[in-house]
């Protein structure tokens, strides 16, 4: 997993509440065997005018000119500004995979669905929670000033606007530690490899029939 320390990037505003994971990545793409490559199908139904099929080349598909991510000024955005209950619905891990593959490293919203929130951390995306009022203000500023960038600093837990205004956010210590150091759960568990090995050795002694049979 890629580290997340601080990130200064262009913001794209997705002004809708209750965006569910089905909208983030529609179900026909779940038959894929990959964790990557979902970027072109992120928000597929909103983004294109035709119906997307798995494995299709998206470069020639008709774009929906009204969809925010299709506007020239938001190209290259790496921070997604969103509304409440973002990522609700099915537990598919394909949703954060698609956001990441598209290029988003951070989402800012007033609230998230639980599973999606967890899944973000597992995939190196920082989901920032800010007060409704502040999110409103950020939406307005993004709309009025082209090229609007935010600086997200995880160590100090702050979001800084171009005018120098700074907002702080909460994040669980353990998750912060993992993101800052680019540790995925696996990396972290492997830090306990010795404990696992000694547990395993004991288990082999007490229940030897559980080992070496399926081979």
């Amino acid at each position: 997993m890629e580290k997340f320390t601080s990130h200064k990037a262009l913001v794209a505003p997705l002004d809708r509440a209750n965006v569910d994971t089905d909208q983030i990545i529609p179900k026909q793409f779940l038959k894929s065997i990959k964790r990557s490559g979902f970027g072109p199908n992120l928000f597929d139904e909103w983004r294109y005018l035709d119906e997307g099929q798995p494995g299709q080349d998206c470069s020639n598909r008709p774009l929906n000119p009204d969809f925010i991510l299709n506007k020239g000024r938001y190209q290259g955005a790496e921070i997604l500004l969103a509304r409440q209950n973002f990522g609700c619905g099915s537990s598919r891990e394909h949703a954060p995979w698609a956001l990441l593959d598209y290029g988003f490293r951070c989402v800012i919203a007033p609230s998230y669905a639980d599973i999606f929130y967890n899944n973000c951390f597992k995939n190196g995306i920082l989901p920032v929670i800010l007060d409704d009022k502040i999110v409103n203000q950020l939406f307005e500023e993004t709309f009025v000033s082209e090229g609007y960038q935010l600086n997200i600093d995880l160590s100090s837990q702050t979001v800084q606007t171009p005018s120098g205004e700074s907002f702080s956010f909460e994040v669980d210590e353990f998750r912060k530690h993992c993101l800052l150091n680019g540790l995925d759960d696996i990396g972290l568990t492997l830090a306990d490899a010795d404990s696992i090995r000694s547990y395993e050795a004991k288990r082999k002694e007490t229940s030897p029939w559980l080992f070496g049979v399926v081979k």
């Binding site: 038959k31 065997i33 990959k34 964790r35 990557s36 798995p54 494995g55 537990s91 891990e93 995979w97 899944n119 597992k122 995939n123 353990f174 995925d184 759960d185 696996i186 568990t189 492997l190 306990d192 490899a193 404990s195 696992i196 547990y199 395993e200 288990r203 007490t206 229940s207 030897p208 029939w209 559980l210 080992f211 070496g212 049979v213 399926v214 081979k215």
Partner: protein, 475 residues
Amino acid sequence: MKPRTLYDKLWDDHVVKQREDGTALIYIDRQLLHEVTSPQAFEGLSLAGRAPWRLDANLATPDHNVPTENQEAGVEGILDPVSRIQVETLDANCDKFGIVEFKMGDSRQGIVHVIGPEQGATLPGMTIVCGDSHTATHGAFATLAHGIGTSEVEHVLATQCLIQRKMKNMRVEVNGDLPFGVTAKDIILAIIGEIGTAGGTGYAIEFAGSAIEALSMEGRMTVCNMAIEGGARSGLVAFDDTTLEYLKDRPYGPKAEQWDQAVSQWRDLKSDEGAFFDRVVKLNAADIKPQVTWGTSPEMVVAVDAQIPRQEEEADPIKREAIERAYQYMGYKEGLAITDIKLDRVFIGSCTNSRIEDLRAAAEVAKGNQVASSIKQAMVVPGSGLVKQQAEEEGLDEIFTQAGFQWREPGCSMCLAMNADKLGDGEHCASTSNRNFEGRQGQGGRTHLVSPAMAAAAAIAGHFVDVRDFVRQQS
């Protein structure tokens, strides 16, 4: 020592490290893998340059996408190219990493939750995981078994552990003798009807009581399988002589002195007298009748002799809305009797009810009868190649085909319709599977969950009948 529940014991036995934040590192003894939820896990492993922690802890088989006809053709026989790639990917990953896989064409191939116990890869006292919510099935063997997501599949591959928080304890006690014609499937459907689909959320459920003790291992697996439909990630049954008999001489089970050593450990796999349960639910077996789900959630279930609940009878507005939606989706009129529901298809199979005992129960009803002419398709899909072989040795396949049922090859099949076996729009199906969600068996399809005997009787009558009357009339 404080008396402990079976779940407490299994948990304590597997704690590698307790962490300060309340989570614990839990050791996993066995992981079962299939083609749908594993490809990204293997990819993640490769990308990180990691190898599986312990190869012999894993066992893989394709099941969700496999066709139920022409399996001799192997992977080449899968017509849907996207499905084929998923199965090919599993084969390639297992070959690459050195994980044992029962490939298509291997007689041991089948639904993951059928082959684990069949091979003795599921043993008492284990922790078992799989990227599939019906992993709860294995709890019938006094194992701590539950479904996990794709990131966790990778986590277990790489570390043989999971980061978990302990669940609460629930005991569901079913006492008394099960009436004639009533089966394990009816018990679990009745339990879900009682506690609801979220009733077990946050709990590990231990199923106990004399009616559970009297069940075969097949029956106990059926009950644990649907723990998840009651909201619980894990279902459990204590170890006893029934468990022991089932496990003797299984290929991956302990042999010789190890067997004796194992059995003496397994004897302790039960809740201690006086152990604390956060919640206890009691049912009387004598009150359970054959069950039929009428709606689009497993908790929408009634006895076969009942009518579909009337919408205005539900006081809770959220539930009433769900009932209204189900009425609409299922195309009902008010006050319809369950026995008046006309059926289009019948599916006997899935990890809930595709074991030999299930097929025997269905064959007993089918024997000497004919599937009603109004039924478009009645199919029997054994849970594994070995179940299929045994059924054929017993002549069950002939009973089925003579009665007009299709005798298919093993896999998940119409349980979730990822292969070619599907319901058409608006069709009603009597199914021995575990989920009756909208579109589960095909877009617009209408599923009714029942026991194998009830499904077979419905196939013959063309509509639901009380299997108890049916059998009485026949004899």
